[in-house]
């Protein structure tokens, strides 16, 4: 082998070393700690931030909207349908709870930026009515956003969106409708919204205002299950109603309670909606009695949970019919849950000993995690005494 003559060839290693020495000798002696890419990543995903409640208003007779303004003046860009995670200090526990953002993305880009959530009263998701009782104007709270993949993705979804909503599951579509009306989201939105009575409609006025402003792009269909006075659609959100109001080649987006999800999922299959045309939000895990194959004989049992964090160990009680994450919260051990439905994996934990039942609803575990016993604490239930390891928070 000869490249340019023997002597030149064998001197190559010394030559490249000299080149590298020169390269480094010519380097600036001034440190440059700027990393604009990490700065952008941190702006898009700032993690925990402090917010102040700047407005509380009725969204319906049975729900309230809360406005949160950032103490540092920055709300990260989010997309309609994404959620915010709150860190609530209640007693000795720090609870994490996720809510879909009900305000529009453009409102977070105003001179005084904010985001809003809309919460139904007396829902056992949290300590019931914690927001209503504790979040007055001026209150401060820690939150992180945005999270979740429940948003319109133009590279995948049809521009004709049908939002199927139940109860407070309307909030992603309220966000979407407001963004469309603002002229910053170019889709056609049909909202089919199931409520019990018209007084239960959440964000009704805002939805109506957006539809009135954009009648060619936004259509509202309310469906009442138990409202004799209602002169619109009645009953449940059935196949007939969905087909009646669906435009051509729609992308269906569902957000609502688990029971309704099970129904809608069946309906989608019956209609023959292709998988890529049906999206659904990461709902929190349903009650155990609604989880398919949940071992019923476990209900009411209690186990011992040994929790390893670093070299530290705690032993706490855990109810068999509550997710491991709830046992941790009750004991005041922080666990960073986000979606609370098994999907997102933020509360990924390691099973060291014992047996768990993992809800098959929205099981978001990786194959290797399943094999090695890693689980998502928000959707796993003890069926024996457990020894687990979780991240130090």
């Amino acid at each position: 082998m000869k490249v340019k003559g023997f002597l030149k060839d064998v001197g190559g290693a010394s030559r490249v070393t000299k080149m590298r020495q020169e390269l480094i000798a010519n380097g600036s002696p001034v440190p440059d700690p700027k990393d604009p890419i990490r700065a952008l990543a941190d702006a898009l995903h700032p993690g925990k931030q402090d917010f102040v409640v700047t407005e509380v208003r009725e969204a319906s007779p049975t729900s309230t909207t809360y406005r949160f303004s950032p103490k540092n003046g920055h709300v990260p860009v989010f997309q309609c349908g994404q959620y915010v995670n709150f860190y609530l200090t209640i007693g000795q526990s720090v609870l994490t709870r996720a809510y879909s953002i009900s305000s529009a993305p453009y409102e977070a880009r105003l001179a005084d930026p904010y985001f809003e959530i809309t919460v139904r009263h007396n829902v056992p998701y949290l300590v019931p009515d914690w927001f209503l009782e504790n979040l007055k104007v001026g209150a401060e709270i820690t939150a992180a956003l945005p999270f979740g993949q429940f948003y319109y993705e133009p590279l995948r979804d049809s521009r004709n969106i049908v939002g199927l909503a139940g109860g407070s599951g309307i909030t992603p579509f309220a966000s979407m409708a407001k963004e469309i009306a603002h002229g910053t989201l170019d889709v056609n939105l049909t909202v089919i919204y199931g409520s019990v009575k018209h007084t239960d409609i959440v964000c009704g006025d805002e939805l109506q205002a957006a539809a009135d402003a954009c009648p060619d792009k936004i259509r509202l269909v309310h469906v009442m299950s138990e409202d004799e006075e209602w002169d619109g659609e009645k009953g449940f959100v059935t196949r007939e109603i969905i087909e009646k109001y669906s435009p051509e080649d729609p992308s269906y987006f569902f957000c609502g309670p688990p029971v309704m999800y099970f129904m809608i999922e069946k309906t989608m299959k019956a209609i023959g909606v292709p998988r890529r045309r049906f999206r659904h939000d990461a709902a929190a895990q349903p009650k155990v009695t609604l989880i398919p194959s949940f071992p019923e004989d476990q209900i009411g049992k209690e186990y011992q949970l040994t929790v390893v964090r670093g070299i530290h160990e705690d032993v706490i009680p855990a109810k068999a019919d509550e997710p491991v994450a709830v046992a941790l919260e009750r004991a005041g051990i922080p666990i960073d849950t986000h979606c609370r439905g098994g999907k997102c994996g933020y509360c990924r934990s390691q099973l060291l000993a014992g047996d768990i039942f993992v809800s098959p609803v929205n099981d978001g575990r990786r194959a290797m995690d399943k094999e090695f016993g890693w689980f998502h604490a928000c959707s796993a239930y003890p069926v024996s005494d457990l020894r687990i390891k979780i991240p130090i928070m």
């Binding site: 082998m1 000869k2 490249v3 340019k4 023997f6 030149k8 060839d9 064998v10 001197g11 190559g12 290693a13 010394s14 490249v16 070393t17 080149m19 590298r20 390269l23 480094i24 000798a25 380097g27 600036s28 002696p29 001034v30 440190p31 440059d32 990393d35 604009p36 890419i37 990490r38 952008l40 990543a41 941190d42 702006a43 898009l44 990260p76 860009v77 997309q79 993705e153 590279l155 995948r156 998988r275 890529r276 964090r309 670093g310 070299i311 994996g345 933020y346 990924r348 929205n362 978001g364 575990r365 990786r366 194959a367 290797m368 995690d369 094999e371 090695f372 991240p391 130090i392 928070m393």
Partner: protein, 522 residues
């Protein structure tokens, strides 16, 4: 509450492949008092996967090099075997299909030097033997590199035992390829892997190029059955079985240094952890400008080093789940490199300093190497380019999501144009990653994935020779794409082992010095 011991022998920053491999190498030599701190909530860094609506999607791995078959294990495969890390490797069916429409080139090459030489000969009759000769040169250089990277020897010895390596070490890939007199079409066909180091052939050291060619064509490449997360999880589990403590969600913010020597680290949470050695997965650029505490402990030479060297490429990738089988979609190949405009890597390099549209793409259909990787009736498919971070530096938060969609849309359009396959109407899930994604999940400096540029003026051979002068703080080693062997998941393992070896040697030297001093005193 106390989550950490008062002191560890070694703290490893980052539980990616390099960090985990460093731990395993240390453990093999009896250093077991190890703490690994990982920023994310899972191991592996970029060697990972994610789940969207119940479908697990490979995050980054195209093909793992240096594994080899069970019969002919290569360097990384041997190391995993020695450590008792048993990964379910699946062989990638072909090396690559290369498509360059403007020249009418469309050829598929398979592993095996003779096999690929014959495949080229079939299209360019008479050239097979010369191609084989070329591949054998690559292989000889490859063998030498594997020996020399762990066995120091004198220059004379090197010349006697490794003459081809010595004689090509000072040249670029182009300079050596040119001596073979191949027609340009064949040069193009032998060039696609350049993107796996992200440096144009005109300034890429031949040895690095030869390493890629020999490694991939010798034994083929592999993917783990359960995505690259399988590899990461099995390395983690073995490191833990061997006694290492691994903590997730712990970003190290500071490396504590006193009188030129590492004393410990401080995490974002505020934990201060004492140790004798730190192996840093964080880039030297970040370590020497942000992390060393106090910064006055950073020698001027360290700053000049990170400022003088150039960062290599980062990633722009579109990952999709498609709603049909590869067969029905018309996707026939695991791995296609497409040169939509030109195969002149200097020209592509210029394009890669922008945010697109990109015309040199690599596309992967995982299911063709790993049947069942995606639920029945679907498949996962990714399109990737490896551009420089330069084009991304001015991105604004407000424009970011629109930008990502535009970039992805252009990459999909280019793939569809070159392949004739319709992707757009079959997308079930789609995620787009950019340098910002990398920075978010693994915290790498400027979203880099490939460390420092593998260019002739920052040659791995020179890095090895300058190891001592690149070492600035006692007890601080580096393991990641930014270390001597550079980028890629195979080299990540090698880099981790090299960092461990530096620690092991230093421990031995200090022990010997102490014994000598004690003997003298006695």
């Amino acid at each position: 509450m106390k989550f950490y011991k008062d002191h560890y022998d070694v703290v490893i920053i980052g539980g990616a492949l390099a960090g985990l491999s460093a731990a395993l190498q240390l453990q093999q030599k009896g250093i077991t008092d190890i703490l690994i701190l990982e920023k994310h909530n899972l191991p592996g860094g970029l060697a990972t996967s994610y789940v969207r609506n119940g479908i697990e999607i490979e995050a980054t791995l195209h093909e793992m090099m240096s594994i080899g078959s069970k019969e002919d294990r290569l360097k990384v495969g041997v190391f995993f075997d020695e450590c008792g890390v048993d990964i379910d490797w699946l062989k990638v069916p072909e090396a690559y299909r290369f498509v360059e429409p403007k020249k009418g080139i469309d050829i598929t090459l398979h592993a095996g030097f003779e096999t690929m030489a014959n495949e080229i000969d079939a299209k360019y009759p008479g050239w097979g033997p010369k191609v084989l000769e070329f591949m054998q040169l690559c292989n000889t250089v490859y063998d030498s590199m594997n020996i020399l990277s762990v066995t120091p020897m004198s220059k004379v010895q090197m010349l006697l035992k490794h003459p081809e390596f010595v004689k090509t070490a000072g040249y670029t890939a182009t300079e050596v390829i040119d001596t073979f007199g191949f027609p340009q079409d064949i040069v193009d066909i032998l060039s696609p892997y350049w993107i796996y180091v992200g440096n144009p052939l005109s300034t890429l050291p031949f040895t690095i190029y030869a390493f890629l060619m020999a490694d991939y064509f010798r034994g083929g490449s592999y993917v783990p059955k359960k995505y690259s997360h399988e590899m990461s999880m099995k390395l983690q589990r073995k490191a833990e079985e061997n006694g290492a403590q691994i903590e997730f969600c712990q970003e190290v913010e500071k490396i504590l240094v006193k009188d030129g020597k590492v004393t410990g680290v401080r995490t974002k949470r505020g934990d201060v952890i004492n140790c004798d050695y730190v192996i840093s997965g964080a880039y030297p650029n970040k370590v020497y400008t942000q992390m060393i505490e106090p910064l006055s402990e950073v020698p001027a030479g360290a700053v000049k080093m990170v400022n003088g060297r150039r960062l290599s490429v980062t990633t722009a990738s579109v990952m999709m789940v498609l709603d049909d089988t590869p067969e029905n979609l018309g996707i026939k190949d695991y791995n296609i490199f497409s040169a939509g405009e030109t195969m002149d890597t200097d020209e592509i390099w210029k394009q890669n300093q922008t945010t697109g549209p990109y015309k040199y793409l690599t596309s992967i259909c995982l299911d063709l190497a790993n049947p069942g990787a995606t639920p029945e009736g679907m498949c996962q498919f990714s399109i990737t380019n490896l551009p420089l971070v330069k084009g991304f530096l001015e991105l604004k938060e407000e424009d970011y999501y629109d930008f990502k969609r535009k970039m992805a849309s252009e990459m999909i359009a280019e793939y569809e144009r070159v392949s004739g396959v319709n992707i757009r109407d079959h997308i079930v899930e789609i995620e787009v990653s950019t340098p910002v994604t990398i920075a978010h999940y693994v915290g790498a400096w400027k979203g880099s994935i490939y460390g420092f540029s593998h260019s002739i003026d920052d040659h791995a051979v020179a890095r090895l020779q300058m190891k001592e002068q690149d070492h600035f703080i006692d007890g601080l080693e580096f393991a990641g794409a930014h270390a001597i062997s550079g980028n890629g998941m195979g080299p990540a393992v090698t880099n981790g082992r090299a960092a461990a070896k530096a620690v092991i040697d230093d421990v031995a030297n200090k022990k010997a010095a102490a014994e000598k001093a004690a003997a003298k005193k006695a």
